[in-house]
């Protein structure tokens, strides 16, 4: 599946990647995947699966999905 770590969430990826692919053998709880990716759940403000906002606590994802995770947003310059 396609994973996009928005904002500073990419900092937690070992290679600091913002966009990458992961392979899932079976459908899994989003929260489990997030923990496996090493992203602290408390830093996630918004999760979207296939561009639809989902609940981080309840959603499940499969191998063909696209996942976007974002931290809280603040002001720009």
């Amino acid at each position: 599946m396609e994973v996009h770590l928005g904002g500073h969430l990419a900092f937690y990826d070992r290679e600091k990647r913002s966009r990458f692919e992961v392979h899932l053998d079976a459908e899994t709880a989003l929260l489990d995947l997030v923990r496996e990716l090493g992203v602290p759940p408390a830093e996630i403000a918004l999760a979207a699966v296939n561009r639809t906002v989902v609940s981080l606590a309840d959603a499940r994802v499969g191998d063909g999905d696209r996942l976007d995770l974002y931290p809280p947003t603040s002001g720009g310059a």
Partner: protein
């Protein structure tokens, strides 16, 4: 002996051609340490209510923060403050870069400019001395040529140049100031004020070091080194350095809070053409402000459908959303060119984009047509028309003359439904942050004395999760109760009250919004340590919050004198109607909730909920009794001015 400041302010009267220096003692600086507070003090004392913002009577204050120039990341900012020609109220805008630190190194804390020179001039400031120099040959020139000519004339390539562009010369109401070509005091039309004085530039060079001003240079230097080491390892600093503000675009769109088609919508169907992935294809690097380890400024250069040179700052998020989604232009190259034009011409990119988005909606509704717009099909998505309008606004030519007045005045002139399309507060166009998805930001837009601004408080998403880094780092400010992004209850109002005071303190200290908690690159305790080391004062967090609050109250008193009331603390009607699309489709701010939140905020601030004015009691508590009615224009002032 005072520390952390130079104790000196330069006073320039361009009508008389005179220059003098005022000195102030340590007690004065403890109340008005720098930046917003120092400037507001002088504006309140010396500007007579009702004076023309573009007349010689306006007072333009360029004020460094207390810590500006200290060897600490993000301590780079200075304020430009005057009566705003855009809002008619308290005008203020901050910029980072190099000019503010250089002014501090030149032995001055601020420059006060009044009057109007009969001919174009520039000001040359070196090590506490100043000279008014002829700029007739610079008037009308592009900013790089002006900067190069001044450096050549002065024989010093390290002179730091603050200047206006063509828009400032032409007194466009939202003209900006730029320093080193890449850093901008964008908001509230301070460039028009400078242009109205026939002052093209202020060139500065100084030989001091901030640590030599400090009470405890060793502690200050040690703190600076520690922060320089910590910051690159901080997740949010990494984000700012790696992605910068353009990294926000995807998140805003995904959350349904990317202003689109003049704030009608919250998601943009062509976001992939302006998002960060698209941005990376054009970005050529990053840059820094003075002594800052964050290094968040984007550089951009390309030549393709459009050409952009690496002369100015690359587009920040505000430009990407302003000319991108809000004007429905799904072409990052065109957006980058619009951003470059604004910078080259000296226009505030937020107000320029917001005013053009407003005009596009008027065009779509038939309120204006090609006969009004010099033949331009000024519709959403028409990049060529938007680019042409930017130039016409700066030159005040054709339809640009009307849009150069800002969306509020243009709407009044167009009539019909046009005022309902003008997305402004107090006449200043909204930044690219959607209050229907972060309502505290809306409260800030409404109440800010300078009009809609996104940097007057912390944005709501930072305070949703009590386990998040921002929330935990704000605990030192007394913030302990999380609230939702759409909550307008008492918890949200308390958070806003605290965050506004803290952000105001940053504007007094000269710190960037991107540094201190809750961004948490710099903890609250680090800021207190820095002020103590710089000044020798035994300050606490509470005293810094009070310093921030004092500055806000001075700005409020200024507006009250100019006739502003609670009725001016309003949001555009559109924000009380549902968003048309995206994840927040159907979401609106509840007007009753908003009005109650406003009342609650006034009560927390010690302001009259009926008028929105500070009570005499609150002013007295803040040591501002001298600002009460009548204490204007040279009346006795508190605070220990010694010269």
């Amino acid at each position: 002996m005072s520390h952390g400041t130079n104790g000196a302010i330069l006073r320039v009267d361009l009508t008389a051609g005179s220059i003098s220096t005022d000195s102030f003692d340590d007690g004065f600086y403890r109340r008005y340490p720098g930046g917003k507070a120092l400037a507001a003090y002088h504006l309140l004392r010396e500007f007579r209510p009702g004076g023309d913002p573009l007349g010689p009577e306006n007072l333009l204050v360029l004020a460094t923060g207390l810590l500006t120039g200290a060897p600490i990341s993000t301590a780079t900012r200075f304020n430009a403050i005057a009566r705003s020609p855009l809002t008619g109220g308290f005008g203020e805008s901050e910029a980072g870069g190099y000019w503010g630190p250089e002014l501090k190194m030149a032995g001055l804390d601020a420059i006060l400019v009044t009057g109007r020179s009969p001919d174009p001039v520039y000001l040359w400031v070196k090590d506490g001395t100043a000279e008014i120099r002829d700029a007739r040959h610079l008037w009308g020139q592009d900013p790089p040529a002006v900067q190069a000519a001044i450096r050549e004339e002065l024989g010093d390539r390290l002179v730091r140049v603050l200047q206006i562009g063509r828009a400032g010369e032409n007194r466009v109401r939202y003209a900006m100031l730029m320093n080193e070509l890449r850093h901008y005091n964008g908001r509230t039309g301070m460039g028009a004020v400078m242009g109205s004085k026939n002052l093209r530039a202020v060139a500065v060079r100084g030989g001091r070091r901030y640590v030599d001003l400090a009470h405890d240079p060793a502690t200050l230097a040690e703190l600076g080194k520690r922060l320089a080491k910590q910051i690159p390892e901080h997740p949010q600093a990494w984000d700012l350095r790696t992605k910068g503000t353009p990294g926000l675009t995807d998140a805003m769109n995904a959350g349904g809070i990317l202003p689109t088609r003049n704030f009608r919508q919250g998601s943009f169907e062509r976001v992939d053409e302006i998002n960060f992935a698209a941005y990376l294809e054009l970005r050529s690097g990053t840059r820094s402000c003075y002594a800052c380890a964050v290094r968040c400024k984007p550089a951009m250069a390309f030549s393709d459908r459009h050409t952009v040179t690496d002369t100015y700052d690359g587009p920040e998020y505000e430009a990407v959303a302003g000319f991108g989604s809000d004007c429905a232009i799904g072409d990052l190259q065109a957006v980058a060119r619009a951003n470059e034009l604004c910078n080259e011409l000296g226009l505030d990119v937020i107000s320029a984009a917001g005013t053009i988005a407003f005009a596009m909606e008027c065009f779509e509704h038939g309120l204006i047509g090609p006969g009004d717009t010099d033949g331009l099909e000024l519709r959403f998505g028409n990049a060529a028309a938007a680019l042409e309008m930017v130039v016409r606004i700066a030159d005040r030519s054709g339809f640009g003359e009307l849009l150069a007045q800002g969306s509020r005045r243009a709407a009044e002139a167009i009539g019909g439904d046009a005022p309902s399309f003008a997305m402004h507060v107090k006449g200043q166009e909204l930044p690219m942050h959607e209050p229907r998805g972060k309502v505290g930001v809306g409260l800030g837009y409404a109440t800010n004395e300078a009009g809609a601004d996104h940097l007057v408080g912390f944005h709501d998403p930072l305070f949703v999760n009590p386990d998040s880094v921002p929330f935990r780092s704000a605990a030192d400010l007394g913030i302990s109760e999380p609230t939702g992004v759409l909550d307008l209850g008492e918890k949200k109002v308390r958070i806003w009250y605290t965050s506004e005071r803290w952000n105001s303190a940053e504007k007094v200290l000269g710190l960037c919004f991107f540094g201190p908690a809750p961004r948490s690159l710099i903890q609250v305790a680090d800021v207190v340590t820095a002020v103590r080391a710089a000044t020798g004062w035994d300050v606490t967090t509470d005293e810094l919050l009070e310093v921030g609050e004092r500055a806000v109250n001075m700005a409020r008193v200024f507006n009250v004198r100019e006739g502003f009331t609670r009725a001016d603390d309003r949001l555009p009607d559109r924000l009380f109607t549902p968003l048309e699309n995206g994840p927040l489709a159907g979401t609106a701010i509840a007007r009753d909730d908003f009005e109650q939140a406003l009342t609650n905020l006034y009560l927390l601030k010690g302001w009259d909920p009926g008028t929105g004015a500070p009570t005499e009691e609150r002013l007295r508590e803040l040591g501002l009794e001298w600002t009460a009615a009548g204490a204007v224009g040279g009346a006795a002032a508190g605070g220990g001015a010694s010269g």
